[in-house]
């Protein structure tokens, strides 16, 4: 482990802004939830009613996780189910960023050639991730006011993060490049989420198969039990050990899954679009399949909710009143689509950033030194960054429509929910446009697009809870999307969003034509 200290310092130096930022923001979320529940449902009766009627229905339990009580803390804990997911996601990305991405860039070789133990680079990334998770856990408890409940919640978040840091570490050993490693890590996370969602929706023990569920089965602020943390710790240790074992059984730069020989030539790579297709098709397939599976799974969970209502007319009536005439299923699906919109925007940003990656790895240069002009080259990627999220949204709409429609015996739900999903596309496209604009005009700042997306996510998640003014909420393009299905459709906001997206994209292409390549 020689050099471990130096490597840790290197990582901390590189992430000196990003790391404290995500730790702080995520640690603050549960406290914000708690504060808003304390305000919105001040009495025991109100919380009791909320826990029974909203938090406790299968579709919400599928989305967020189980509810174990009606105290402020218990309600906040369930809401923090999404925080848990984000913590896990970030851990996967952070570990891959400091292991496989480094190898991709060849920087790892530079380090490996110095006096550094064979395990040190992987260990350094894990140490930083685990450290950040533990700080996040303690801060979570501190922000909520120290109690056994808040500490347990904080540590549950931390340990979910630690498990997925280890998942990221294993994924980084298996593939030869950072892209597929991220894909693999996120697929595992998606699967864990789906298993938990299915288990919680049906109230079966299936959830125990998902490490994400362990983070919630600690039941903070209710029947508190520390045992699941032990399971998380064991799994994380096992996975980290596996990653370490794998890492010494392969070459620096190589993967365990060896790359096969390719074709000796190509007749299909005929132009910039064909090249973009080759570079983007993996992303497109991954996101589309992922969205379809989520749609199918949650379409099923929705019908569970409907059943609960059919057996309880009083409840159904209550909800009809609460939702202003909009049915609970519609509210649920529209919430789900709101989250899907953010994910679709993330895909758009990711696809658009491929352009920047092509440029900074100098792969764009030889292509742009051929008869390929800059705008067609960029358009090849932009097409995927715009159309890809649309395809993905279409998939989730179709998935939801199919299982939900089959359940209620109305396949008319398929076009209806596809339409509702597609209504999210213009908002997602504005972020793609923003990324393209940054790429063309301020290429060194393309990463800012992720920050903007994070702000949109936060505004959507806690903006209303914090009772921020409408003017602030309006900053997020997602605020302007109609609440579909069920809500009222007005064309104007969608058209405006689409126009903004087009203008931003055009500005980016205009800038790219005029600027230096390779800076």
């Amino acid at each position: 482990m020689t050099g471990l200290r130096h490597l840790i310092r290197l990582i901390l130096r590189r992430d000196r802004v990003l790391l404290p930022l995500w730790v702080l923001i995520l640690a603050a979320l549960p406290a914000v939830y708690a504060a808003s529940f304390a305000e919105l449902t001040p009495t025991d009766e109100a919380r009791e009613l909320y826990a029974r009627t909203t938090a406790g229905i299968p579709s919400i339990e599928a989305m967020l996780g189980p509810i174990y009580g009606s105290s402020v803390g218990a309600l906040a804990t369930q809401r923090a189910g999404l925080t848990l997911l984000i913590v896990a996601l970030i851990n996967v990305l952070v570990v891959i960023r400091h292991t496989r991405t480094e190898e991709d860039a060849g920087r790892r070789e530079l380090v490996a050639a110095t006096v550094v133990g064979r395990h040190a680079p992987l260990a350094a990334a894990l140490v930083v991730a685990v450290g950040a998770d533990l700080v996040l856990g303690l801060l979570t408890a501190a922000f909520m006011g120290f109690s056994s409940g808040s500490l347990l919640l904080g540590l549950s978040l931390a340990f979910a993060g630690i498990v997925f840091a280890a998942v990221g570490a294993v994924a980084a050993q298996l593939t030869e490049n950072a892209g597929p490693a991220r894909g693999l890590g996120l697929a595992v996370l998606g699967l864990a989420y789906l298993i938990r969602a299915a288990g919680d929706a049906t109230g079966s023990g299936l959830s125990w198969a998902s490490p994400l569920a362990w983070g919630q089965y600690t039941q903070p602020f209710a029947d508190e039990t520390w045992l699941p943390l032990l399971a998380s710790f064991g799994l994380a240790a096992l996975l980290a050990g596996l990653a370490g074992w794998l890492s010494v059984r392969r070459d620096v730069g190589g993967g365990l899954v060896p790359t096969r020989l390719g074709p000796a030539g190509s007749t299909s790579l005929t132009g910039p679009f064909a090249l973009a297709w080759r570079l983007q098709r993996g992303l497109l397939t991954g996101w589309s399949v992922g969205f379809l599976i989520f749609g199918l799974a949650f379409g099923g969970a929705v019908s569970g909710a409907t059943e609960a209502f059919n057996g309880n007319p009083e409840l159904a009536e209550l909800f009809a009143r609460l939702g202003g005439g909009v049915s609970l299923t519609d509210t649920f699906i529209s919430t789900l689509l709101g989250i899907a919109a953010i994910a679709a925007a993330a895909y758009g940003i990711q696809a658009a950033l491929r352009m920047r990656a092509e440029e900074s790895t100098m792969r764009a240069e030889p292509v742009l030194a051929t008869g390929t002009a800059r705008v067609p080259w960029a358009l090849g990627h932009v097409v995927f960054a715009v159309a890809g999220p649309i395809v993905a949204l279409l998939m989730i709409g179709a998935g939801l429509g199919l299982t939900y429609g089959a359940d209620v015996g109305d396949l008319g739900q398929v076009p209806r929910l596809i339409g509702a999903a597609l209504a999210q596309a213009p908002a997602a496209a504005t972020l793609t446009g923003l990324t393209v604009a940054l790429f063309g005009l301020l290429p060194r700042l393309t990463g800012v697009a992720w920050g903007i997306l994070a702000i949109c996510l936060l505004l959507g998640q806690i903006g209303a809870l914090l009772q921020l003014s409408q003017a602030v909420l309006d900053l997020s393009p997602f605020t302007h999307t109609p609440h579909l299905p069920g809500g009222e459709v007005t064309a104007l906001p969608l058209v405006v969003l689409a126009v903004v997206a087009v203008v931003l994209t055009a500005a980016g292409l205009w800038g790219f034509r005029r600027r230096d390549v390779g800076v």
Binding site: P263, E365, T370, T372, R514, V517
Partner: protein, 293 residues
């Protein structure tokens, strides 16, 4: 069109770095032109300006009779470029990259492609990362050499090639020359350029310090000679740093006076002789040390 490349007074800054400082470069059509300079002297930057990838701050640049920035796409169809540091796509095989780049340039000659693969001993089925640096370089070289173009722009193309492959490369460039193509070959190794180039331009700190045929530049370079002579000599006119050790002599001689000196040596009877060609580093040490920085 007499000049394939005509650059004068080119300036380019990156933040506070003055990468190009009034650079001049003339490459005549049909010649192999060596573009020499130590690392960081601005060779790649000049080439990127010529490819329309960077926009110069001031000065003028003409490429194949056109404006490298405005007419970029049209000009690019008539040239092939090999970057100094070739990176390939991890999921594309070498053969796919060759075909892609060739096609984007307007097509490549399949026979020539096959022949070059053979000569460079390159397996086109491997993917991006499975190639070593030298092999990545070969992928780009095959794609460029198999393209039917007027001008080849090669940025330190032999870095990473082993000596055997360097030889193959030299043969290829010699053939390109016979078939009338223009070649701009950047390098920081004088010997490499010497064997291939009709004319060279030497740059330093973004400025051209010398330009001309190698014969023109002879006066700048010194050859190191050591010899074992039949009859000992104590003085040899016109040489530098003479060391005499019995019948052995060691000295440096201005390359344009090499002939006179050798005559002097043969008069004394030469038993053995080794000579070392001048290097770019020496040349810079001697003539441009302390020049602007």
């Amino acid at each position: 069109m007499e000049n394939a490349i005509l650059v004068s007074g080119l300036h380019k800054t990156f933040g506070r770095t003055h990468a190009l400082n009034g650079l001049d470069l003339t490459v005549r059509t049909g010649e192999v032109h060596g573009f020499l300079g130590p690392n960081g002297s601005g060779k790649s930057t000049t080439i990127r300006v010529l490819l329309g990838l960077l926009r110069a701050d001031s000065g003028s640049a003409r490429l194949l009779g056109g404006d490298p920035w405005k007419d970029a796409t049209a000009l690019h169809r008539r040239l092939a470029y090999v970057p100094g540091d070739v990176t390939l796509w991890p999921n594309l095989s070498g053969g796919e990259v060759i075909d892609l780049l060739g096609r984007l340039r307007g097509g490549l000659n399949p026979q020539r492609r096959a022949e070059l693969l053979e000569r460079f001993d390159l397996d086109p089925r491997k993917k991006g990362r499975a190639y070593s640096k030298g092999n990545r370089q070969k992928v780009a070289l095959v794609a460029a050499l198999a393209s039917d173009v007027e001008l080849l722009i090669l940025d330190e193309p032999t870095s990473g090639l082993d000596p055997l492959m360097e030889e193959v490369f030299r043969e290829c460039i010699a053939e390109e020359k016979t078939s009338g193509r223009t070649v701009l070959l950047s390098s920081h190794i004088l010997a490499e350029v010497e064997q291939l180039c009709d004319r060279v331009s030497i740059i330093r700190n973004g400025q051209t310090v010398e330009s001309g045929t190698l014969t023109d530049l002879r006066h700048l370079t010194r050859t190191s000679i050591s010899a074992d002579l039949a009859t000992p000599l104590t003085t040899i006119p016109g040489v530098h740093d003479l060391v005499v050790d019995g019948t052995r002599v060691r000295f440096e001689v201005d390359t344009d006076r090499l002939d006179d000196t050798l005559k002097h040596l043969t008069a004394a009877g030469v038993r053995s002789l080794t000579s070392q060609p001048p290097t770019l580093e020496e040349l810079f040490m001697r003539h441009y040390q302390g020049a602007a920085r």
